[in-house]
């Protein structure tokens, strides 16, 4: 519950304005971007709907419209606008949307340093092969090998990783759809979706995200080597 600093009335945590005196409410400790925007915790989002909600709420909160209000209301407007902007930014992008869902569902971050430090087991083989290939290409480059050939080898090394990334994007989409179905109260899977099933989906999503971050790092290291190869 939130308490209105103007009239003292109580308000549900997702309310933006006091139900009693209709003043803007202080933000308090809000943590759920979905509910803030009035959305269910689904991963497939209609982009136009999100934009519309963002614009509508901006028109309600923006500090421009509280210029003559009391300091308390001005602060509330600033905090709510900042939070709205954060929420919009996080939910607009599918990957940060999943990251936010994992966070509010209580899973450890997929971005922390421990999480990204070790190679995901499913990628061990690719990582090993790529590192060897990159070492070799680096040696060849330093001994002045034909840049055209080096570039061709890098392209060749990139292909399987790119394929892996595309596969991951597909899996993320599938898992997102599964999550949404498990969340739906009357969905086919939803009826039987237990807490364990849902947890399994979230774990799988987190696993894919970790791998995805790692794949992006691998692609970045190929790109770095590509720019190091002399031109012409």
């Amino acid at each position: 519950m939130l308490e209105c600093r103007n009239c003292g009335a109580g308000a549900p945590v997702d309310e933006h304005f006091c139900p009693q005196c209709s003043r803007i409410l202080a933000l308090g400790r809000h943590g759920d971007y979905f509910s803030f925007l009035g959305l269910p915790r689904t991963l497939v989002i209609d982009a136009n709907d999100l934009e519309r909600r963002f614009r509508d709420l901006s028109r309600k909160f923006h500090p421009d419209y509280f210029y003559n209000a009391s300091p308390t209301e001005r602060l509330a407007s600033l905090e709510r606008s900042s939070y709205l902007n954060d929420a919009y930014r996080a939910l607009r992008n599918p990957v940060s949307r999943i990251e936010h869902l994992l966070a509010i569902e209580g899973l450890p971050s997929a971005k922390s340093e421990e999480a990204t430090a070790k190679v995901p087991p499913s990628l061990l083989e690719e990582v090993f092969a790529l590192n060897e290939e990159l070492d070799e290409i680096r040696d060849l480059r330093e001994s002045g090998a034909d840049p055209e050939r080096l570039r061709a080898r890098l392209e060749q090394a990139r292909a399987p990783i790119e394929a892996k990334r595309e596969e991951h994007e597909r899996q993320l989409q599938e898992l997102s759809a599964r999550w949404d179905a498990q969340l739906a109260p009357s969905g086919v899977e939803g009826e039987n979706a237990s807490a364990e099933d849902k947890r399994a989906t979230l774990d799988a999503l987190r696993e894919r995200l970790l791998e995805r971050n790692y794949i992006n790092n691998l692609l970045a290291s190929i790109e770095r080597e590509m720019t190091a190869v002399p031109h012409g």
Partner: protein, 614 residues
């Protein structure tokens, strides 16, 4: 409560506008001139001159006059070494501190110089309101614009300037966004817009989406040291090389001639840089220059605007073909090459229906009106141009708020202590996109105090960074176990502390403004100046085109030139009456030419229509 205005505080010119009956209007002086040159000059007796009069004094008292001070706002001496060389005024400052500008025995910070310009605009607006019969004509609040790519220090310096000028700064808004507000007054507009703003000293590109009256900036980029000044400098350097001149007065005379030639080349294919023999340049100087030569010279400068444009598109997740409209802002977009480059980039002819010099002030006035009226038809959602971060181990930056985040924006970071009973923590805040602290802009050193004594590593201090709708940062910190708020001491890297601003405010009252008669004299000179300029422009055009001899009757040119010379002879004097008399005489002498020119323009316009109709 007094009046509210919108101010475009430009590198070269500044202007002020307000909203009347829902429409933004630029405030002009009696001769119809809206632009106040952003030039400040200090007289021998300490009198402060601003605008046209100060611009004239650039020729007669170059070492006591300052221009382009916007380039120094919120910057350190190490940033500006290169460009200070060709400027007539003294630029100094301690390493890692604010730039100081020396005039005779006095020193000013850039916000103080800008405050003189703002005060002049405030005065001009108040005079306007008083003349139109307003009872409460005092101007006490303003929206002031800055380049979108200005960092926190540059924005804060602008806000300080406003305070020093006796204005409550309602909001700092970005110039390209302001321009889009002025263009988007028709609220049914929707689509994706690119605003290309090349001014006297700065370049900005902003990509916006407009829908339901919400102007949402998707991305912005730019260069705060790229503009018309740099183009002028290229021309000046050519002349300096050929004449071997070094004196301040000569440089200023050459700069004037270069600017005139630049302006000419926006209208005609060929002109000359022409300097009449005078004390500053005894031999005089003439050099023909074609538009093609000029374009070859400035091409590298104009090309420097392209990378920021591409980066802004990429950050918005768009391609050039996704842009529905491109809009031109800033005086330098009058240059045909600039228009051509923008058209090539976005694949469509850019808009320039509104005067590129005035459109930003109009937008600022609209925003000021939104703020005080609370009207909700339009809303501007801008972004922060640069990422905000803090220094971590090894001089690496940890980013807290990413660039192009919609503002207001906030970010949090957790800190703890390294030794037992530690009660303070130091945090270095930077702005920029690079990995290492040294490659970014240092904003401030924060010192958190009042952490409850605990075992090392136990305190959980949450530091909250808040960028407000002005794009300006504030910081708060709280230890979460005890819920105790920490006080934060802020040492801005390139800014003034609150105490310094207060002291300057008091000083500015002591240096009272010039008296009423001096003001009238200045206005008479301004009037004279603008009549001379208009006259010379028409005469020049007639000469360069060779197309207008039929406009002049025999002996008319001579009569006009005599009247100009007579006016020039008295203009520098301190008596107002002769200036006004001879201005009147010049007006009389040019009456026939003015009518003839106007008739020709009308004829041409009609002729143009006939061709189209056929």
């Amino acid at each position: 409560m007094g009046k509210v205005v919108g101010i475009d505080l430009g590198t070269t010119n500044s202007l002020v506008a307000y909203v009347e009956n829902g429409r933004p209007i630029v405030i002009r002086d009696d001769s119809g001139d809206a632009l106040v040159p952003s030039v400040v000059s200090v007289g021998e007796d300490g009198t402060i001159f601003v605008g046209r009069e100060a611009q004239r004094r650039l020729l007669t008292a170059p070492s006591r006059s300052v221009y382009s001070v916007k380039r120094f706002m919120g910057r350190g001496i190490e940033d500006v070494h290169g460009e200070a060389a060709l400027l007539p005024f003294r630029v100094s400052g301690d390493p890692g501190g604010v730039v100081r500008i020396g005039i005779a025995d006095r020193e000013f910070t850039p916000p103080e110089i800008s405050a003189f310009v703002l005060r002049e605009l405030k005065r001009r607006a108040e005079e306007h309101f008083q003349k139109s019969g307003e009872f409460d004509f005092e101007v006490d609040r303003a929206v002031i614009t800055v380049p979108a790519y200005f960092n926190d220090a540059q924005r804060t310096a602008t806000r300080d300037a406003g305070r020093l000028a006796g204005l409550e700064v309602l909001r700092i808004i970005n110039e390209p966004t302001a321009a889009s507000l002025a263009y988007g007054l028709d609220k049914r507009n929707r689509g994706t817009i690119a605003v290309y703003d090349l001014g006297g000293g700065t370049f900005d590109i902003s990509i916006l989406r407009v829908e339901d009256g919400v102007f949402q900036v998707l991305s912005t980029n730019g260069d705060t040291h790229l503009g018309g000044d740099d183009i002028d400098r290229l021309l000046v350097e050519i002349v300096l090389e050929q004449t071997g001149q070094k004196e301040l007065a000569a440089i200023e005379t050459i700069r004037r001639a270069a600017i005139q030639a630049k302006w000419d080349l926006s209208d005609v294919e060929e002109t000359e840089i022409r300097i009449e023999p005078s004390g500053a340049v005894p031999a005089g100087y003439r050099k023909r220059i074609t538009r093609a030569e000029f374009e070859r010279l400035i091409r590298p400068l104009i090309d420097r605007t392209l990378d920021p444009c591409r980066q802004a598109l990429a950050d918005a997740g768009l391609e050039a073909k996704d842009i529905d409209e491109a809009v031109l802002v800033g005086g330098s977009t009058r240059i045909p090459l600039v228009r051509q480059v923008v058209e090539e980039l976005f694949g469509r002819e850019p808009h320039s229906e509104l005067n590129p010099d005035e459109v930003v002030a109009l937008g600022a006035a609209v925003q000021a009106d939104i703020l005080i009226s609370g009207r909700r038809e339009m809303l501007l959602l801008d972004v922060t141009p640069l990422s905000l971060g803090i220094e971590t181990m090894g001089g690496v930056v940890s980013k807290i708020i990413m660039r192009n985040s919609t503002i207001p924006a906030s970010g949090r970071e957790m800190f703890t202590t390294g030794v037992d009973n530690q009660t303070g923590v130091d945090i270095h805040v930077v702005q920029g996109e690079r990995e290492l602290v040294v490659d970014n802009r240092s904003l401030a050193h924060l010192h958190l105090q009042g952490i409850p004594p605990m075992v090392a590593g136990l305190p959980r201090i949450e530091v909250r960074f808040q960028i407000d709708a002005n794009g300006i940062l504030s910081v708060a910190a709280r230890e979460l176990r005890t819920e105790i708020e920490q006080t934060i001491e802020v040492k801005p890297s390139y800014g003034l502390t609150d105490q310094e601003v207060e002291r300057m405010l008091i000083e500015s009252f002591e240096h009272a403004e010039a008296d009423f008669e001096a003001r009238l004299l200045i206005e008479a000179r301004n009037e004279a100046e603008s009549v001379i300029q208009a006259t010379e422009k028409v005469l020049r055009r007639a000469q360069i085109d060779g197309a207008a001899p039929e406009l002049l009757e025999p002996g008319e040119r001579e009569r006009i030139e005599t009247a100009v010379a007579e006016l020039k002879a008295v203009m520098g004097g301190n008596a107002r009456a002769p200036i006004q008399d001879r201005t009147h005489a010049l007006n009389h002498a040019t009456q026939h030419l003015a009518e003839a020119t106007m008739n020709r323009t009308v004829r041409e316009a009609l002729a143009g229509r006939n061709v189209k109709d056929v």
